[in-house]
């Protein structure tokens, strides 16, 4: 971020604008970028999901609005914006209105901690992983609020299920994250990416020593996202729409937005931790080959890094969608059993194995 900050101040000074103005306005730029990106990515993801699910079931998916159905989600979004917000009789108005915001804001915050490239990190803390754990558990508060405030039994059951689910699936995630922290000796996401840099290119990724951990965290992420096969809180065949049954219009759109934004950011987070983040799959930056003499080489590299992260993220998103297309929903009790009896012990064992691996192969834990 320092480099960008430097460029920004330089730009302002060239136009005779005082530095203090730049200092104040600079933090708003990442916010605007994140907000714009969320809208864009969600629009793309919703279309992509519908297209991919259609692909798996021999259909064509949306193909009416625009070429290849490209403006379908935009049309849907406009429809949602124009719809009436229905106030539910007997609902707790304040909590009912605030719940979608409580769900959406933490998701937006999560977008700030991912290193999109070695320079584009909006919140570069030394304890990003810890921050992730604490923020990622926040949306469930909004979900429980929405279920409680809706004055609907379906919503209430959905919200309670969601609460139980998040509590049981947070723990394995933490143990897997700990093993990653042990592998890379850092809690900073940028350092974690750096620790996957090496001669072996792909082979240096954390996914290879920690393959069990990757599978565990992939399952737990599905559970945190309330996606199939863990979509019990919004199981449409049982609870109509679960916690957002009573929501309509813009409030529902916020839930929708949060769900897909969270899906994307979790995929990006997984890619950062296990698949080398913004590091190139090829081992070497392509821009270095083509633009080696260009003075803007660093800028090209930043964008290329972003490109690599997107590719990895979308592969993971595709996997999320494949799982959704195939698996039926878990039962309530086996959902708990899977976490407490299988994933949690397995993630603990994995943690110990990783520490031993780190101690003997690479010498020293820290």
């Amino acid at each position: 971020m320092n480099y960008l900050y430097f460029l920004y101040i330089q730009f302002l000074l060239n136009h005779n604008i005082p530095k203090i103005f730049g200092d104040i306005t600079f933090p708003f730029i990442p916010f605007c970028i994140v907000a714009a990106m969320i809208i864009f990515v969600v629009l793309v993801l919703v279309l992509l999901e519908r297209k991919v699910l259609a692909l798996f079931t021999q259909r064509k998916g949306p193909n009416r609005v625009g070429p290849w159905g490209m403006f379908q989600t935009i049309a849907d979004a406009i429809k949602l914006l124009c719809k009436q917000n229905i106030d539910i009789l007997g609902s707790d108005k304040f909590l009912f209105n605030i719940a979608p915001i409580v769900v959406f804001v933490p998701v937006m915050m999560l977008w700030g901690i991912i290193p999109y490239s070695s320079e584009f990190v909006f919140m570069n803390f030394s304890v990003s992983v810890l921050l992730y754990i604490s923020i990622a558990a926040l949306p469930v508060i909004g979900i429980i609020l929405s279920g409680y405030a809706s004055n609907s039994k379906y919503s209430l059951i959905g919200a309670m299920r969601s609460g139980a689910q998040i509590i049981s699936y947070e723990l394995p995630i933490m143990f897997v994250l700990l093993s990653i922290v042990a592998l890379s000796s850092s809690m900073n996401l940028k350092d974690i990416v750096y620790s996957q840099l090496g001669e072996g290119a792909i082979l240096c990724w954390h996914v290879f020593p920690c393959i069990v951990g990757f599978i565990i965290i992939f399952i737990c992420m599905l559970a945190e996202l309330n996606r199939c096969p863990f979509d019990l809180p919004e199981a449409e065949s049982e609870l109509v729409a679960g916690y957002n049954t009573e929501y309509s219009g813009m409030r529902f759109a916020l839930f929708f937005l949060a769900e897909y934004a969270l899906m994307f950011i979790m995929a990006a987070f997984l890619a950062t931790l296990f698949w080398g983040g913004y590091l190139p799959i090829t081992g070497k930056y392509i821009s270095e080959i083509f633009f080696s003499d260009n003075q803007f080489l660093p800028v090209f590299i930043y964008f290329e890094q972003f490109f690599w992260l997107m590719i990895k993220t979308f592969i993971l998103v595709f996997l999320f969608m494949l799982v959704r297309a195939t698996l039926p929903r878990l039962g309530t009790q086996s959902l708990m059993k899977l976490s407490w009896y299988l994933l949690l012990p397995l993630s603990m064992i994995n943690f110990i194995v990783i520490i031993i691996f780190k101690y003997f192969i690479e010498g020293g834990v820290l």
Binding site: T57, I157, S237, L330
Partner: protein
């Protein structure tokens, strides 16, 4: 404080297969009691018959069970034929059997798709509809319409099948086993599916007989009663087939029995096609439906439909209109037995068990 939630599942609910209302008492997620309320789709099918001549009522019969129109049609035609003491030409009977077996496959395919949707898996639904579509197209070519056929007439069938159509049927039955093996790859061994269905909704043979449950649900409880075999009607006595049966008594058994039944139906269709290709008949019906003189009397016909025993009782007083028509359909008894199956299970098992019973509401309410 009262901890028991009284939840009205339906009449408008995504997975009650129409407009069934289940008054459910829940303690948390545990089901204390379920009370099905039927009658939201009552169309007065039996009363309508009393105001119409036998021929006028013939197209309405298809609407009793819209997924198994040929079964209801056969039951009605058969009862009228028995009252008239007429013989049906053998070729016509073979065509009827062929149609009924294809209809059974279509009905079971739709059940499989919606059952998997109830469990939360989306793809199998589309695959099942894809295959069902082929059957419906075949029916459209034969009878003129996709669901309401009006093809069976008193004493036979309306018109002959062409060799071209029989070839299409042959190619369809050659392709279907491949699709069925695909479903089995996705579903049968899937641990989540097993978890949701194994030992869930156990229907003991005694209970099944007490509630007079018939059809695949009864056969899944280990009672080997198939009216095609026990009291052969039509030309079922001339073809070879095995009754599918399972001793497990649970939802999984009902799934296995239906998959097996589709394969059995394919065998019967194969034999019927062979007969129809090699034999011909001058007549397809020997009576003129327009001037029916039905003597006084009563008769109850029976058909093993895709949802159990289907009875059509007709009492005639010699007038052009039936004095009384009574339908006995399989789904009605499957709905009644539901409270026995789900007591003590979780709420999401309610939907899974209900889905496994293969209930469609128009057949229940008539």
């Amino acid at each position: 404080m009262n901890k028991i939630i009284k939840l009205n599942v339906g009449p408008q609910h995504p997975s009650t297969h129409g407009v069934l209302r289940l008054i459910t008492e829940l303690d948390g997620e545990k089901i204390l009691s379920v009370e099905p309320v039927v009658g939201y789709l009552h169309r007065g099918m039996e009363k309508l018959a009393e105001n119409r001549s036998y021929l006028q009522y013939l197209p309405m019969v298809d609407r009793v069970d819209y997924l198994g129109s040929f079964f209801t049609s056969y039951a009605y035609c058969n009862a009228v034929e028995k009252l008239l003491f007429v013989e049906v030409p053998k070729r016509a009977e073979y065509i009827r059997m062929l149609c009924m077996e294809l209809n059974r496959i279509a009905s079971h395919l739709l059940w499989l798709g919606t059952f998997m949707l109830d469990l939360g898996a989306s793809s199998p639904l589309f695959y099942c509809f894809r295959d069902r579509e082929v059957i419906l197209s075949l029916f459209e070519e034969l009878t003129g319409q996709r669901m309401m056929y009006n093809y069976f007439v008193f004493g036979g069938v309306r018109h002959d099948v062409s060799d071209d159509w029989l070839c299409k049927v042959s190619s369809f039955i050659a392709n279907l086993p491949k699709s069925i093996s695909d479903y089995e790859k996705i579903i049968t061994e899937n641990p989540i599916f097993l978890d949701r269905t194994l030992n869930k909704g156990i229907l003991k043979p005694q209970t099944a007989l007490q509630f007079s449950v018939t059809g695949p649900n009864l056969r899944a409880s280990g009672v080997e009663v198939d009216y095609r075999k026990v009291m052969p009607y039509s030309v079922y006595g001339d073809v070879d087939f095995v009754i599918s049966e399972s001793n497990r008594c649970d939802s999984y058994a009902r799934y296995l029995v239906r998959i097996q039944e589709m394969k059995t139906s394919l065998d019967i269709v194969k034999q019927a096609v062979l007969y129809l290709k090699n034999n011909s008949d001058n007549y397809l019906t020997k009576i003129n439906s327009l001037n029916l003189k039905i003597p006084e009397g009563e008769y109850t016909s029976y058909v093993e439909s895709s949802r159990g025993l289907l009875n059509c009782y007709i009492k005639s007083d010699g007038s052009p209109k039936p004095y009384r028509v009574k339908w006995r359909t399989g789904s009605y008894y499957s709905v009644q037995v539901l409270p026995e199956l789900v007591k003590g299970l979780n709420y999401n098992d309610l939907i899974a068990v209900f889905g496994s019973l293969d209930v469609i509401m128009p057949e229940v309410d008539r």
